[in-house]
């Protein structure tokens, strides 16, 4: 076994809460979220950046938490799926995803919802192609993507802006 470099202290904010944590260098943000903070809404389906299930938003941008070192998250603002609904009120994206049947087994859902949220924040009226480019890294086996796309289209026709 390789010798250990000790844990290092980091401060980061997850869903608006500040945390101080001591982590070993090889620990990923995904592991911090799931194991230390017990925010298990962020999923691992491959661990190698090929499925999008572990997507979280860092400073509003979608990133793969399985390929992000915890030590690289010092002082960053991280939003996970648990931080989206405020006080139990679902966001519009979340509501429409449910209404349109865009959730089945739900394992890809957190990543897809966060990537969609980030897209709609960055681009108020994304084209079909832009939607697909934003979600091309998110594998979903259950829905065939039809109802996911339908839900996003509905959010757009509602003229809803994600910035609130």
């Amino acid at each position: 076994m390789k010798k250990k470099q000790g844990r290092q202290l980091i401060e980061l904010a997850v869903n608006g809460e500040a945390y101080e944590l001591a982590e070993e260098p090889q620990v990923t943000l995904l592991e911090v979220l799931r194991n230390d903070l017990e925010l298990t809404g962020t999923k691992e389906s491959c661990g190698t950046g090929e499925c999008g299930a572990c997507t979280v938003l860092i400073d509003g941008e979608p990133v793969l938490s399985c390929l992000t070192l915890a030590l690289d998250c010092r002082d960053l603002d991280i939003l996970t799926i648990e931080g989206l609904a405020k006080g139990g009120d679902l966001t519009h994206v979340q509501e429409i995803f449910l209404e349109r049947g865009a959730v089945q087994c739900g394992f890809c859902t957190p990543g897809v919802v966060l990537a969609t949220t980030a897209l709609l924040k960055a681009t108020s009226r994304p084209t079909d192609y832009e939607i697909k480019k934003a979600l091309e890294g998110h594998l979903c086996r259950c829905t065939g993507y039809n109802k996911i796309v339908e839900a996003i289209d509905k959010v757009l026709t509602d003229g809803y802006l994600v910035n609130e």
Binding site: P25, L67, T68
Partner: protein, 331 residues
């Protein structure tokens, strides 16, 4: 999956990274975006003792240098490159290629330099070898190639999308280490050896990328052929640049680069020469395609046969050239 253990160093500048690399010698590795290195580490294909993270280090913005070159930092994320209007205006081919890399998240994380410095790939190599293909291949320090088991060669393929675009843009890269810097044409970055694709020594990193400005009519196109149209590496890719005479019809110079057919991107030089000085027409483009097929022999990779790759090469080169020709700005 989890990462093996390592010692973590944070670096905020390329100079500092060069210092650290030279201090730790061969045991250290630079990580910029992490999307290339970390999966390799999880699979046990890279085991650096020291990982030098440049994640979210300050990045200089793209600029036009005194000689008219577009100057890019290797630390720019692909997303930043894609979103840069300066890049779009001066090197639309690069914007196009960058937009086709990986997935949305990969582009948010991955960097230009990381994409250029990625390792060659092969189905047998890119896995963890905990119970499959345990006997090491050439690339893992052994003496077999599972993919093409004859001879002494590693047949892993360089699959990056950015390098072919930079070839066709005649880009240069600044290579730096603690003690010296040098500027070389992008072609010089690649050795053409599947086993060790990059010319860089363990102490060296890419410092800057220079893309010469175009002073005339130009049309360019990047064609990436993949099965799903996203998320994955190219089956093959073609980056075409057509520089035109002022008449807008005669080709002054052409650059056609093919990716994912060998251990480095390949220029179709005969095809380029054949098209130069000619009017762009169905006939001249078809002739160029024919010449390209004579000079490029795709290495069968990722389950695709050479017959299929040759046919695809034909279609994709033709497609890229047609699109590039259609984009020549005439005013």
């Amino acid at each position: 999956m989890h990462l093996p253990r390592f010692t973590y160093k944070k670096s905020d500048s390329l100079e500092e990274t060069a210092q650290l690399l030279s201090r730790y010698d061969t045991g250290a590795c630079l990580m910029a975006g992490g999307t290339e290195l970390l999966p390799r580490m999880k699979y046990g294909l890279a085991m650096p003792e020291v990982l030098i993270s440049m994640k979210r280090s300050p990045v200089s913005s793209p600029k036009i240098g005194s000689d008219g070159d577009l100057v890019l930092s290797p630390l720019m994320t692909l997303r930043a490159v894609e979103g840069s209007s300066l890049v779009r205006e001066n090197a639309p081919l690069l914007s196009e290629a960058v937009g086709l890399v990986g997935s949305g998240e990969i582009r948010h994380m991955g960097t230009l330099g990381g994409n250029l410095c990625q390792e060659t790939r092969c189905l047998y190599y890119n896995q963890s070898h905990s119970f499959q293909f345990k006997k090491p291949c050439f690339k893992r320090g052994g003496d077999i190639c599972y993919s093409i088991p004859k001879g002494k060669e590693c047949w892993a393929v360089f699959m990056g999308d950015i390098a072919p675009a930079l070839y066709s843009l005649e880009a240069k890269v600044k290579i730096m280490s603690r003690d010296k810097t040098r500027i070389i044409p992008i072609e010089g970055l690649y050795r053409g050896d599947g086993k060790k694709p990059l010319i860089l020594s363990p102490h060296e990193i890419i410092g800057e990328i220079f893309i010469p400005g175009s002073n005339g009519l130009r049309g360019s196109a990047f064609s990436k052929f993949s099965f799903r149209g996203g998320l994955e590496f190219a089956v093959l890719s073609v980056a075409a640049v057509l520089d035109m005479e002022d008449d807008g019809e005669t080709c002054r110079s052409a650059r056609i680069t093919v990716g994912a057919v060998a251990a480095a991107p390949v220029r179709a030089r005969c095809a380029e020469a054949g098209i130069e000085g000619k009017n762009i027409s169905d006939r001249s483009l078809s002739e160029a395609v024919r010449q390209a097929l004579d000079e490029i022999r795709p290495v069968p990779h990722h389950g695709q046969t050479s017959g299929f790759l040759k046919e695809s090469l034909k279609v994709q080169i033709r497609h890229a050239l047609s699109v590039a020709a259609g984009r020549v700005k005439k005013d």
